[in-house]
């Protein structure tokens, strides 16, 4: 028994979850020093492997010499009934061989393969205790959420379907939009215990093979017991895990994923996660939204510029307020100076403490609102509105102008379409506020200097994160910085390093 278990784990480590191709469990191959018993999937051995697994279902057909093993909650009842139960109940013993020759049955050769198939949600059929052969039937249909609209990346125009937790479903959503045999989906497995399916999806001849190889090799190198989520995988494979900026683009929208794939990028779908990762990514991508491509280009460009302004506001507006009210009153226009002085006159704290107090309050409100059910969340909104809106000013805690500043920063952070980027920027804001409170504008610039240093050395799959700004590429600007009219979007962006650059052949 112990030998089988150790053999199972040895395979998992040495095989590095390798299963390239469409067949379910091709990863199990011979020639890795397994014992003969390990290669033969006897019913009793497999049953023994799953001892104390009370959710395992065992059905037997003594007149046929057939035993079935499967997890009842992982198989689809309809599929089980149609492909397995009904045929087995109606078949004559002499016709069993013909039945098993049907396409829904696949021969299982090894013990490990049999165990993994059951864990995957397939039903495994043993003929005469496995001595006359073992087959699996593709009846897997684990429970999961159906296709719903994503909550974090809503759109006004365009499709509303979002990814769900099933990798199969997510791959299907992508395939439905890209009906091409060149769309490749390589299945890998991550997690020694969880055996999580991870699909690396790309379009052959468009995606750079070096990126595909690099991504696959990084995912294979991941060695953890349980992989829960796509964001977790991202943090295990990114180039610079200590940077504050997210380096792989994550989305819950199939249309965005398809757009990225067609741009020569690679998508990674993780089973159990509604988030799909695309790479390589650049900073500018985080300011693009799906709607940009459905709106008229002038409106979309306007919105992108709005988001870039929001980026500057959310990072620096409060810090700038702290800086000028602490050290640089000369920067304030005379007309505003009187109002500001009046507003600040009743506040007993230095601007740094005042701003930090307000920012912390807003962040706490946001965090509380994010975790609470929506009905209670509304209450939080009202309480927060009253507390930070009026009471804080009347109590002399803060000035009116700071309220406007902090609120603008908070709203600006929500303008940024990517939640991951927005969270990172909010954190940077606190650092800049501190520096501005200590050293004024010089501190603010020092903070910007650190941000620039971080951004400049960031790479994603060894390609620059700051493209198309640095390396400068004006052609990419109409894709990433503005949203150029469709007739001008002829080439894929340079970061994908595709050999096939032409994207649109339309002449106008």
């Amino acid at each position: 028994m112990a030998r089988w278990v150790s053999a199972l784990f040895r395979k998992n480590r040495s095989g590095k979850n390798d299963s390239r191709g469409n067949k379910g469990n091709e990863s199990v191959t011979d020639g890795q020093g397994r014992t003969p018993e390990d290669r033969r999937p006897f019913f009793s051995l497999v049953r023994q492997q799953f001892h104390d697994c009370h959710d395992l279902v065992h059905r037997s057909y003594p007149h046929l010499g057939v035993d079935l093993l499967y997890f009842g909650h992982l198989v689809g009842p309809e599929e089980l009934d149609r492909d397995l139960v009904r045929p087995l109940e109606t078949v004559d013993p002499g016709e069993l061989d013909q039945l098993l020759a049907r396409s829904q049955f696949m021969r299982v050769e090894t013990f490990t393969e049999a165990v993994e198939s059951i864990l995957d949600g397939q039903a495994v059929l043993f003929l005469r205790d496995g001595k006359d052969g073992v087959w699996l039937a593709q009846v897997s249909n684990p429970p999961g959420r159906s296709v719903e609209e994503t909550e974090v990346e809503g759109s006004i125009t365009g499709p509303h379907d979002g990814f769900s937790e099933s990798a199969q479903l997510n791959v299907a959503l992508i395939r439905r939009r890209l009906k091409s045999a060149r769309l490749k989906a390589i299945r890998l497995r991550v997690g020694e215990l969880s055996h999580t399916d991870v699909y690396v999806i790309y379009i052959e001849d468009i995606a750079n093979p070096a990126f595909v190889e690099e991504l696959i090799s990084r995912i294979r190198d991941v060695s953890i017991e349980v992989l829960h989520e796509a964001h977790e995988l991202v943090q295990l494979i990114e180039d610079h895990p200590n940077s504050v900026f997210p380096q792989f683009y994550t989305t819950e929208r199939p249309d965005i994923t398809v757009n990225k794939l067609s741009q020569g990028r690679i998508a990674v779908v993780v089973d159990g996660s509604p988030t799909v990762v695309t790479a390589p990514a650049s900073l500018m991508e985080y300011f693009n939204a799906a709607d940009d491509y459905y709106m008229r280009w002038i409106s979309a460009t306007g919105l992108r510029i709005l988001r870039f302004i929001a980026f500057i506001i959310t990072v620096s507006f409060t810090a700038f307020y702290v800086s000028i009210t602490t050290f640089h009153y000369e920067l304030i226009p005379r007309t505003l100076l009187v109002n500001l002085a009046e507003s600040r006159a009743r506040v007993p704290f230095p601007p740094l403490y005042e701003a930090l107090f307000m920012e912390f309050t807003i962040e706490m409100l946001r965090e509380a609102g994010a975790r609470l059910p929506s009905k209670i969340g509304q209450t939080i909104g009202i309480v927060g509105g009253i507390v930070i809106g009026q009471a804080a000013v009347q109590a002399g805690f803060t000035s009116n102008i700071l309220i406007i500043t902090v609120a603008s920063s908070a709203i600006a952070s929500f303008v940024i379409p990517s939640y991951m980027m927005s969270t990172s920027l909010r954190l940077l804001r606190f650092g800049l506020i501190l520096l501005a409170g200590i050293w004024g504008n010089l501190g603010l610039m020092l903070g910007f200097g650190f941000i620039i240093a971080d951004l400049s050395h960031l790479t994603v799959l060894k390609s620059s994160y700051m493209t198309p700004l640095a390396p400068f590429n004006l052609r990419d600007w109409k894709q990433l910085v503005i949203r150029g009219p469709y007739w001008s979007l002829r080439e894929r962006t340079s970061q994908s390093r595709t050999r096939n650059r032409i994207f649109s052949k339309m002449k106008r």
């Binding site: 640089h328 304030i332 226009p333 004024g440 504008n441 610039m445 020092l446 400049s456 050395h457 640095a470």
Partner: protein, 362 residues
């Protein structure tokens, strides 16, 4: 490093490294040392700088893609070339530290009269260290971001065009000046930073010889900005004012007012912080390259940290802006001497090495 610097980044890098806080005092230097219509010397010195770059270009061509220390090693004994590299490295490191100190003292003069500048400088040095260790390719990217952040400011001066009086450009040329040689060094110092091109050889595409034209382009852009701003300053302020004002271009910016910002000069000077940091970083990077070549077993990060820390203490000796400026002027003279003599030495040395058969003629 997989990626190589492309010409666009080289041009931007050279421009960003050249432009520093000296630009604000450029009209004063021209007025004091060259007199009326002294801006004309910007043209002449620009030509001298271009000639200097051409000299470096010739030396780099002669080197056939070899980095500077390797070229020196071809014709100098190892100890001599090592000492020369260390000396130049120390000079660059001290120049870098003094540049950042000059900026901090100027900022202190404007906004923080009561604050201790040593803590400021420590913060800046940490930033410089971060920038040096990311390497020249990433520094090129950082320079591009800094360039885009600061490029709007020269255009702000265009709104002062209506205050330019033609009468201030007197028909007299170069009257009331005098110290032309000293002036040459002072104004030439504003162009320093182009020496960086001598160190870029291993970081550009091998076999590509056109990258050096980007150095000319970057320098020409700085030259154009300097000339335009100085000409504008000579028409905006009177000759007497120009001689008296410490930073005439900052004073000019003081006349600018935006609806949301009262004193554009303060804001502009604040943004120049990034330029000053880039200049200092480039010099520290050059120093690190030179020292690392002499001591190849020490990691670049440690070399950079040592250089930054040691020059931090050395540059603490001059504690006033005027004394820092005096030290900087001395360093600038040494740097100018190096920028002319080093390529000449390389050219002669490489010719000698070729004659001795150590190097094949291309």
């Amino acid at each position: 490093m997989n990626e190589k610097l492309n010409p666009f980044h080289i041009a931007i890098l050279i421009h960003v490294v050249q432009v520093g806080v000296t630009v604000f005092s450029l009209p004063r230097l021209c007025a004091v040392y060259y007199g009326t219509n002294g801006w004309i010397w910007i043209v002449i010195i620009g030509i001298a700088v271009t000639a200097n770059i051409a000299l470096i270009h010739a030396a780099v061509k002669m080197g056939g893609g070899r980095p500077l220390p390797e070229m020196l090693g071809l014709f100098l004994p190892k100890p001599v070339s090592g000492i020369l590299q260390l000396a130049i490295g120390c000079m660059y490191a001290l120049s870098a530290c003094l540049t950042s100190k000059q900026y901090v003292l100027m900022f202190e003069l404007q906004s923080f009269p009561a604050t201790n500048p040593y803590v400021f400088r420590a913060g800046i040095d940490v930033l410089i260290l971060c920038l040096v260790v990311i390497g020249i390719y990433n520094l090129g990217k950082a320079a591009t971001i800094v360039f885009f952040a600061t490029i709007p400011f020269p255009f702000f001066y265009l709104s002062l065009l209506h205050d330019v009086k033609l009468v201030r450009y007197t028909p007299f040329f170069l009257k009331d000046g005098g110290h032309w040689v000293e002036g040459f060094f002072q104004v030439f110092a504003a162009f320093l930073g182009f020496e960086l091109c001598l160190f870029l050889v291993p970081y550009v595409q091998r076999g590509d010889t056109r990258w050096f034209y980007a150095v000319y382009a970057g320098n020409t852009f700085s030259w154009f900005i300097y000339l335009a701003l100085t000409v504008l300053a000579f028409g905006f302020s009177s000759f007497g004012q120009l001689k008296d004002l410490l930073f005439p271009l900052l004073e000019m910016a003081g006349h600018l007012t935006l609806p949301v910002v009262e004193r554009v000069d303060t804001l502009m000077f604040t943004f120049f912080f990034l330029m000053a940091v880039m200049t200092a970083t480039a010099y520290f990077w050059m120093a690190t390259e030179l020292v690392t070549y002499v001591f190849p077993n020490i990691r670049k990060g440690w070399v950079a940290a040592f250089l930054i820390a040691s020059t931090y203490f050395v540059s603490s000796i001059p504690n006033e802006l005027s004394r820092v400026s005096a030290w900087l002027q001395l360093m600038a003279k040494l740097a100018i001497g190096t920028s002319f003599l080093l390529p000449v030495l390389l050219l002669i040395g490489m010719l000698a090495a070729r004659a001795l058969g150590r190097v094949k003629a291309p």
